[in-house]
Amino acid sequence: MDRNDIKKWFKSPDKMGDKYSLWAIYFCTGCGIIEIPPVITARWDAERFGVIPVATPRQSNLFLITGYVSVKTLRAIIRTYEQMPEPKYTVGFGSCPINGGMYWDSYNTIKHLDKYIPIDGWIAGCMPRPEAIFVAVTHLWTLIDQGKAKAYVKYREKYGLYRKNQEMALGKLDWPPLYTTGGGND
């Protein structure tokens, strides 16, 4: 631990705790997941940054969406995201969740992931190198420090709009709404 950070630890221990324990849900979608095993194992060792993969969404607060998202995967992503406890951070990894990437005219791949769930940050590239994950993580630290990584708050506030978009893509959802707030409900 950096000694210069001690002041920060006393000032806002919750923020510092969030920063250094980003537990990533081990959710594998698309081809980008192939970058994750070297990142979490000895070659790049993500635990230096406090990032470890965990098995269930209930234990995690970082959601890396690693690659293209088919309509069927979107359903699983939404369910996983809604199960994660707050504060939670999402990072879109690769160009496919950003704007479709090479699947821009695919019949079954959603193009913009941020229409359906809020995203804190993007890692562009096809594929991004494992180092890019650490750049994203350190950037996320900065955002958390400055109080800007508030996508989960946005989700809560605009849940109605998000839910409407999700229903447009997936048809009727077979789980009840998570929140009653948001623009779509009124």
Binding site: V71, K72, S106, Y107, N108, P118, G171
Partner: protein, 184 residues
């Protein structure tokens, strides 16, 4: 070995074209009525493995082409002495190893119906289900032609050539607004 197989086939079945572009590959073009009999013939010969069923959309000829790829794990496997005796590697006969049989047949595109191959190869079930979903071919006798991969209903099955993916993306995915834009 492959020539023996070719002669066998030509003597039994009429109205088929056989070509062997490589040592270990046999391509058979058959009429659609004969497909199940030919598959059964290969199964009796020891070709116990249906690798996959594939489909091609020949839109200009107004036909679908179904391709059955059959291989063998048992009968034509090289004998142990075949491999050890020849130091330069596996001999040609042994290397054939049953090879791959590509059985092709054409069905009408306007009325895409066919019969299921489940009585012969049980594992054709998911392949036929997939072809039903992505090409809209109806396999008679298949127990459950329910959706396998897709979440949504498509007017035209999406792997057909006349399915306009760009228009579909424009009409469907691009119509979903960004949350930020929606508020304004």
């Amino acid at each position: 070995m492959i020539s023996a197989l070719k002669n066998d086939l030509e003597s039994i079945f009429k109205d088929i074209q056989i070509s062997a572009p490589e040592d270990d590959r046999l391509i058979i073009n058959a009429q659609k009525d004969a497909v199940l009999t030919i598959l059964k013939f290969f199964k009796d010969k020891g070709y116990d493995h249906l690798a996959m069923i594939s489909c091609t959309d020949w839109i200009e000829e107004d036909e679908f082409e179904l391709i059955y790829i059959v291989g063998s794990y048992s009968v034509y496997a090289p004998a142990a002495e075949d491999i050890t005796s020849d130091k330069s590697g596996v001999s040609k006969e042994a290397a054939f190893n049953g090879g791959n049989i590509l059985l092709k047949t054409r069905i009408s595109r306007k009325d895409p119906r066919f019969i299921t191959a489940i009585p012969v190869f049980e594992n054709s079930e998911p392949y036929e289900r997939e072809i039903h979903e992505l090409f809209g071919v109806d396999f008679k006798g298949h127990p459950r032609l329910t959706p396998l991969f897709l979440e949504r209903e498509y007017k035209i099955p999406p792997f057909r050539k006349d399915f306009d993916t760009r228009r579909y993306v424009k009409d469907f995915f691009d119509q979903i607004p960004f949350v930020e834009n929606k508020e304004k």
